[in-house]
């Protein structure tokens, strides 16, 4: 079954001097969030940006895929701490995404954990959608 998720944004004025709002998400989970070119390209100053939202989407999707893969292998995780760091080069686009995970997983060895993390990195839907990013790195270890 297909799942739809909708979010709206408003932008007022020019790119450099204007400002935008990401309105309350369809789920009600977040928003309104302020965005601006300055906070996207320079210091965030408390404002999110498309790159930070992509980082959140990727870290979340990767964690769920890894959780699923570990459970299927008979070694469900107690806790997974993931992060995604998105590097954006203005004029070129997203140059790099660095994924990290530290896992508390009873009954698994480091090598198998690393292999499951590598599978989740390739297989999660956000990774598949972002397959065009030139470099996606993974740093996986047991906590």
């Amino acid at each position: 079954m297909a799942t739809d998720r909708t979010v709206s944004a408003t932008w007022n004025g020019s790119l450099l001097e204007g400002a935008g709002t990401i309105h309350q998400a369809g789920s009600g989970a977040f928003g309104p969030l302020a965005v601006s070119w300055a906070s996207r390209a320079e210091e965030p100053n408390g404002e999110t940006s498309p790159e930070e939202l992509i980082a959140a989407a990727h870290a979340a999707c990767f964690a769920m895929a890894l959780s699923s893969g570990l459970a299927k292998a008979g070694t469900p995780a107690d806790q997974l701490d993931t992060s995604a760091t998105v590097t954006f080069q203005p004029g070129e686009g997203i140059a790099r995404i660095a994924l990290t995970v530290r896992g508390r997983v009873p009954g698994i060895d480091a090598e198998t954990f690393a292999a499951k993390a590598a599978e989740a990195k390739v297989g999660c839907p956000v990774s598949k959608a972002l397959a065009g990013v030139p470099e996606i790195t993974l740093d996986a270890a047991l906590a």
């Binding site: 709206s8 408003t10 965030p44 498309p50 939202l53 870290a59 964690a63 995780a77």
Partner: protein, 149 residues
């Protein structure tokens, strides 16, 4: 221009079926959001999902690109509204995949006609870094119309 780096962190506890996660905006501290597998696949029940975060990213990225394209064409916008719907579906033999991003843009743009606005919409789709990337697994549709015409 220097590289821009943005980070988010997630803590996931428990199994995929019954566990839950928290996604935190580490760079800006602007959000900390719970999510579960049930709220990702079924009804959101007030929780976000990776796809909703991508919809927010695409709406934000596209609105900035469209504003930039309109300014470049000599018709800077007063106001732009951009709505993005991301669809995830199960694809035969490939599991869950993000298959479509639908962008609907409306705007108040002095001295710009419908054709010019639609053209700026196409240029924004070509220029928005996220539109380009997501085409690895998804199609992107853009529907751009001026307000009050």
């Amino acid at each position: 221009m220097p590289r821009i780096v943005r980070k988010a962190e997630v803590a996931w506890k428990g199994t995929i079926a019954r566990g839950s996660g928290m996604a935190v905006a580490s760079s800006s501290s602007s959000f900390a959001l719970p999510f579960t597998n049930a709220s990702r696949i079924g009804e959101p029940e007030g929780k976000t999902s990776p796809e909703e975060l991508l919809a927010a990213a695409h709406a934000g990225c596209f609105s900035m690109s469209l504003g930039s394209e309109l300014a470049r064409a000599g018709t800077p916008p007063e106001h732009l509204d951009v709505r993005c719907t991301i669809t995830m579906d199960e694809v035969e033999g490939r599991g869950h995949q993000i298959v479509h991003s639908a962008i609907e843009a409306t705007g108040v743009v002095p001295d710009c006609d419908e054709a010019g606005f639609a053209q700026a919409g196409e240029a924004a789709d070509a220029g928005c870094p996220f539109s380009a990337l997501i085409k690895a697994s998804a199609t992107v549709s853009v529907n751009a119309t001026l307000e009050g015409i």
